[in-house]
Amino acid sequence: MTNTSETSTDNAVENTHVRALNAFCGPVKSSIYRNQQRVIVPVEESFDALSMLKDRGFDLFIDVTCVDYLEYRKAKHRYGLVYLLASTMNAERLTIRTFVDDPKPTVASVVPLWEAANWLEREVWDLFGIHFTGHPDLRRLVMPEEFTAHPLRKDYPLQGRGERHNFPVITRDHS
């Protein structure tokens, strides 16, 4: 079995970006999963770390998404944010993860670095309720504007809280 699923390689990593991150924000936890490099950075330094990575050639912002670790075994934090970066120059990819917690999970917005993060962060705000400080226009993206909950959180009931019934009923007399 050459397919090493989870290799915790705190020291043995040859990746220069991981070494740079190590020098930048202390010893970071990194691992390789199916030949993809993943690094966990502290949430306070996530913006500076991503800014440094952009200067190191990661010019393409693929995605930012969120995981809710509520009732997850061994989870120390409630939410995990996942940034997927790519470099079109060097054909490299890098996954940056960071963790935030209730109440008011907050992380710095990366819209100043990559304009592509604008709607992606709005989506994460809409569905998970993560605040992105410094975002130019943090409005809901997919749910209706008057919606109050963040429905992809694990403590939100699947069938909602009666939001589906708040519309006026049009009968034949109205139309």
Binding site: G160, R161, R164, F167, T171, R172, D173, S175
Partner: protein, 208 residues
């Protein structure tokens, strides 16, 4: 005993003349020229397109002119799930259609929400707009949709009126209410109600 024709009150009709009511004539015209408004949001929309296409040929039933402007349509076919955010759009389009108009709820999702019993999906459009025909299926075959249109045509022929009285549900309910014995609002007018009079006089004697 023979009855002569001169004594009969029946009218002599010339050849090729049919006597009918104006309501039935109007309904006959309406049912054979339905203009569908395709509100297709999901896979039912593909079956809806197949229904209008050459193989199933909805024009055999006079309903092939799909228009994408609600102003030109009189039959809304809601094909597919309707999400919460889409429902105001659906209601607006329904209100923009001219009378007389009908609505077919096509497929499980439009009728009941289907498998999508989640916070985002409306659990049946008939909670929010009037529906005339429901088509079961996931998605329904084009034959089923054609059957629904034929059934809707029968419905239009049977209960349609030229003034659209069949749509006036409030008037119908008022007619039912007219059967209630006391049409004006109830007032404590003791002079017209002997029972109340007796009760009031009792309570005047015995305040308990």
């Amino acid at each position: 005993m023979a009855v002569t024709h001169s004594e009969s009150p029946s009218l002599e009709l010339p050849e090729n003349v049919v006597v009918s009511r104006l309501d039935e004539l109007a309904s006959w015209c309406r049912k054979n020229s339905l203009w569908p408004m395709p509100f297709a949001t999901a896979c039912c929309g593909i079956e809806l397109m197949a229904t209008g296409a050459a193989k199933h040929d909805l024009s055999r039933f006079g309903a092939e002119v799909f228009r994408f402007s609600p102003r030109q349509c009189d039959l809304m076919i809601v094909a597919g799930r309707v999400v919460m955010k889409m429902l105001p759009v659906l209601q607006r389009i329904w209100q923009q259609m001219h009378e007389p108009k009908w609505c077919i709820s096509m497929g499980a999702c439009a009728s009941t929400g289907g498998v999508f019993d989640t916070y985002a999906v409306v659990q049946g459009i008939d909670r929010f707009i009037p529906v005339d025909m429901y088509v079961p299926g996931c998605p329904p075959r084009p034959e089923q949709l054609i059957q629904a249109i034929i059934d809707l045509q029968d419905k239009i022929q049977e209960e349609g009126t030229i003034m659209g009285r069949e749509f006036n549900t409030r008037q119908r309910q008022d007619k039912k209410r007219a059967l209630v014995e006391c049409p004006e609002p109830l007032t404590l007018d003791a002079s017209r109600n002997p029972n109340l009079q007796r009760e009031l006089s009792n309570s005047a004697i015995n305040p308990n």
